[in-house]
């Protein structure tokens, strides 16, 4: 778990993998892709892209199928403050919450976290044969995840 930061820093040694056309992953949407046997969820949160391993570190539930939400942030007793809308994903089984941008859990950010991956949006250089039915312009872009 602790090596996640190091791994993120060395993404240049990783391979880029196609996730979706930019237009097919609008804000508020997500796509779960399988890359080299790993299930990965890629999210467009208000125009920012994030990717998380689709496996909760607790019991292996499909984390990336969970709800994207805010949370009741830590407060003094008897104050209820709901904030951080769309920054948190909640595991669909046991409700463990993770910060989407870092993969860190809310209840123990330093020790419990889920693997994150870098996501980039790039101009499409060559048409993808699988989508040749649809004319694609360069400026539309493609969403790539670095695994």
């Amino acid at each position: 778990m602790e090596q996640a930061t190091t791994e993120r820093a060395s993404t240049r040694t990783r391979e880029k993998h196609f996730v979706a056309l930019l237009r097919d992953l609008p804000p508020g949407s997500r796509k779960i892709v399988s890359i080299q046997g790993r299930s990965i969820g890629v999210f467009n949160i208000d125009g920012q892209f994030y990717a998380l391993k689709n496996s909760c570190p607790h019991q292996g539930a499909p984390l990336c199928a969970g709800r994207i939400k805010g949370t009741r942030v830590a407060t003094k007793p008897f104050e209820y403050v709901y904030a951080r809308e769309n920054e948190i994903i909640k595991c669909p089984w046991h409700g463990w919450e993770f910060e989407i941008s870092t993969g860190r859990s809310i209840f123990n950010p330093h020790r419990v976290r889920v693997q994150t991956y870098d996501v980039t949006v790039e101009a499409q250089e060559e048409p993808d044969p699988s989508i040749e039915m649809y004319p694609v312009t360069v400026e539309e872009g493609v969403v790539m995840v670095h695994v």
């Binding site: 019991q59 539930a61 199928a65 709800r67 669909p92 089984w93 046991h94 409700g95």
Partner: protein, 370 residues
């Protein structure tokens, strides 16, 4: 690709629901249907109705059927997510919507609902799916009526015991319940208690100090309820009076058991003569006659700590696996339990439950015949 378990798994806690309460109508008289049309079922599904729950409305988020109906109400989805996915040999149905029958003021209505639920469960779940076995729900308001209901349904081969909630007016060892125990004792069938109902209707408070404020507090009262029922069974002599019954306590935890029994055994040495019919250390009765389920399994301070508790609690006899599907605190058969010796795991995952519920091994031949 779904994983294929190589081991036998008996899941002791599966919650099946109806899509509409009108699924009960074929099994209810017009008189009761009219009241329900006017006033609803008058049952709260969470026991103490004002508390929150967890997950998505209390359920695993992915367990809601695509048609928007209730989680747990769709047999094909239950097969896909649980029975087929984990290769479950048997699942024990514990219901949900009708479970609080014992909190209703009208004993006759309560008994009618319990009876309708049992018929609905048999027709909609047990008969279409041979892996599923059911527990006959009973209403405790009038134990004589409950005993008659048990006599009516216990002969069905898919019914493997009686079911009630943890919340109660009196602890379960008291003689009030004897008519129910007489039927079960004659047939050698278990009395199964599922957590819930504490503080509902005329049941006692959820904790000995009254009502807590939050759901996470209410959950911790489960162990208190179960300890109260178990001490009652011991000191009211229930284990000797009904030698053929095993009592099963679902979803109320397990890790408290050893220290609870140490306390009882210590106290019994000096207080024995107040209940002289208790002739053996309390722990011995419990190890022989009481069973518990795993879910929700604690993580403890690592696997060694749990294995130590399993040893102290005689888990090779007393502990039975459960997922609690489709509830939010579902335990995965593959990941919920710590690594342990193969024989101990076999006892917990299947064999303890096989003995309590008298479930034959589903052989390849039997599976082919299904």
């Amino acid at each position: 690709m779904p994983p294929r378990a190589k081991e036998a798994i008996i899941d002791c806690d599966i919650h099946q629901r109806f899509k509409s309460h009108k699924e009960l109508y074929p099994y209810l008289s017009k008189a009761w249907q009219k009241d329900i049309d006017e006033f609803g079922l008058r049952l709260t599904t969470t026991g103490s109705g004002g508390f929150l729950n967890g997950g998505t409305g209390g359920f695993r988020e992915d367990s809601y059927p695509a048609d928007g109906t209730m989680a747990g109400s769709d047999l094909p989805l239950m097969r896909e997510q649980l029975l087929d996915y984990y290769d479950i040999e048997y699942g024990i149905l514990t219901g949900q919507d009708c479970s609080p029958v014992s909190t209703l003021p009208n004993a006759d209505y309560a008994n009618a609902i319990a009876s309708a639920y049992n018929d609905w469960m048999i027709e909609h779940w047990i008969e279409p799916e041979p892996r599923l076995k059911g527990l006959a729900l009973i209403a405790l308001q009038n134990p004589n009526q409950a005993a008659k209901e048990l006599e009516r349904v216990l002969d069905h081969p898919g019914i493997v015991g009686a079911l009630t909630q943890a919340g109660a007016r009196f602890p379960y060892g008291q003689r009030f319940y004897d008519p129910i125990y007489e039927v079960l004792n004659d047939r050698g069938m278990p009395f199964v208690v599922h957590t819930g109902g504490e503080g509902s209707g005329w049941n006692g408070n959820p904790t000995p100090v009254g009502y807590p404020s939050y759901y996470i507090e209410a959950r911790q009262s489960r162990a208190m309820s179960y300890q109260a029922h178990i001490t009652s069974l011991i000191f009211e002599g229930a284990f000797d009076r009904f030698p053929n019954i095993q009592w099963v306590f679902i979803e109320g935890g397990y890790i408290w058991l050893p220290t609870f029994l140490w306390r009882l055994d210590s106290d019994w040495k000096g207080l024995r003569d107040q209940t002289p019919w208790v002739t053996r250390p309390p722990s011995e009765y419990v190890f022989e006659r009481v069973r518990f389920t795993t879910q929700p399994m604690e993580q403890g301070e690592g696997p060694k700590s749990l294995l130590q508790i399993f040893e102290w609690g005689r888990a090779e006899k007393t502990l039975m696996f459960a997922t609690d599907y489709p509830h939010w605190d579902f335990d995965s058969p593959e990941q919920a339990l710590p690594r342990m010796p193969e024989e101990l795991r076999r006892r917990i995952m299947s064999e303890n439950a096989r003995e309590v519920f008298k479930l034959p091994v589903r052989t390849t031949e039997a599976l082919a015949a299904d």
